[in-house]
Symmetry: C2
Subunit: 212 residues, 2 copies
């Protein structure tokens, strides 16, 4: 089973690494980080430099496609990049699962996959998802047919484990969870706009609006 | 505030990226991935290739040191690597915090930092930690003085948020949690040896023993 994790300039690191760390241990997994061009790709902070194993042209028929998100400007650049959108469409034509984390779902939407489908994204991007005809839900991991979308950044871990269970069975996925010791104990209960202090939610909404 | 995240051949990706994603948003954060040599470093699956921004020699006085773990063979190689151990000792002499995720605590222990200290590691490595005079606890994130150790792989996210709160205050850390939407909803409750099915725990213990 080949899993292709898309990289592009300005991706968010944990969006890619959460699914990677949970899907790579699957039996017979062949996970490749792919990007439009060969050579290093830098994350949204300009701090993490990753070299993809293969280019998009070299990975034509992945069984599972994973698209990480990033800040609005980096995602919008890829939404307008025919090389990436065309590859997503071609890969999706044969994939068993097409998945995204965070604003990666905007790339799936731009490729036309999410029209009329239930989907999710980073909480600040749910309205943008609607403009593509998707039906955003407040859930953390959303399955609609073969399309799997996860909420913001860290939700890719939950998505990866859920997919691992569907692919290799619950006991196998539980084994992955145990080995990455995923027994979360966040020091705060502020991980969603419903749970976080209202002033924080407002602050980030205002910042997002100012950038748009 | 400079944060140095150590990379070495065979590190576990999420061990490094969990703290990175939670500590990088701190005010005035200067986060650098560092390694013994310039040039690409590959993770424990041989799948993720990261190029460090600087070498150990170039980062002499980080305020915060973060050491990810890896499988026994890769960690043992670094425990016996004077370049890494000497750098850890020199960096630790001036650091405000010295932290690890997963079996990264064995590197802190090998450097002599954890003698008589409460600490943690991946659940399969707690006994190894004891051989260095540390007092392993079953907790997910352990503070003892300026030393901060986290349990297996994914616990680096909880550690990063906890440290972020101590460094920049609770509201700031809650903002980080909200932006990475860390509202964990694992599909199973199998993330620790206490919670996972006993046969899985036994299987991994037996595999670990066979490799030792």
């Amino acid at each position: 089973m080949q899993t292709a994790i898309l990289l592009y300039e300005g991706f968010t690191a944990l969006d890619a690494i959460g699914p990677y760390q949970t899907l790579n241990p699957l039996p017979d997994a062949d996970v490749v980080f792919v990007a439009e061009h060969a050579g290093p790709v830098t994350d949204d902070n300009g701090t993490l430099t990753v070299t993809p194993a293969q280019t998009l042209a070299e990975v034509e028929r992945p069984d599972l496609v994973v698209v990480p998100g990033g800040p609005p400007d980096s995602v919008e650049r890829q939404m307008a990049n025919p090389a990436v959108i065309d590859w997503l469409r071609a890969a999706d034509a044969h994939s068993t699962w097409t998945a995204s984390v965070c604003t990666g779902s905007l790339l799936l939407a731009a490729a036309g996959f999410l029209k009329g489908r239930r989907a999710t994204s980073h909480w600040l991007a749910l309205d943008a998802l609607k403009t593509f005809g998707a039906e955003p839900t407040g859930e953390r991991v959303v399955f609609d047919g073969k399309y799997v979308t996860a909420a913001g950044v860290s939700s890719g871990i939950d998505m990866g484990l859920t997919l691992a269970g569907k692919i290799a069975g619950d006991p196998y996925a539980q084994g992955i969870q145990l080995m990455i010791e995923y027994d979360p104990q966040p020091p705060y209960d502020a991980g969603s706009p419903e749970k976080a202090p209202a002033e924080l939610v407002e602050k980030f909404r205002a910042e997002e609006a100012a950038q748009a």
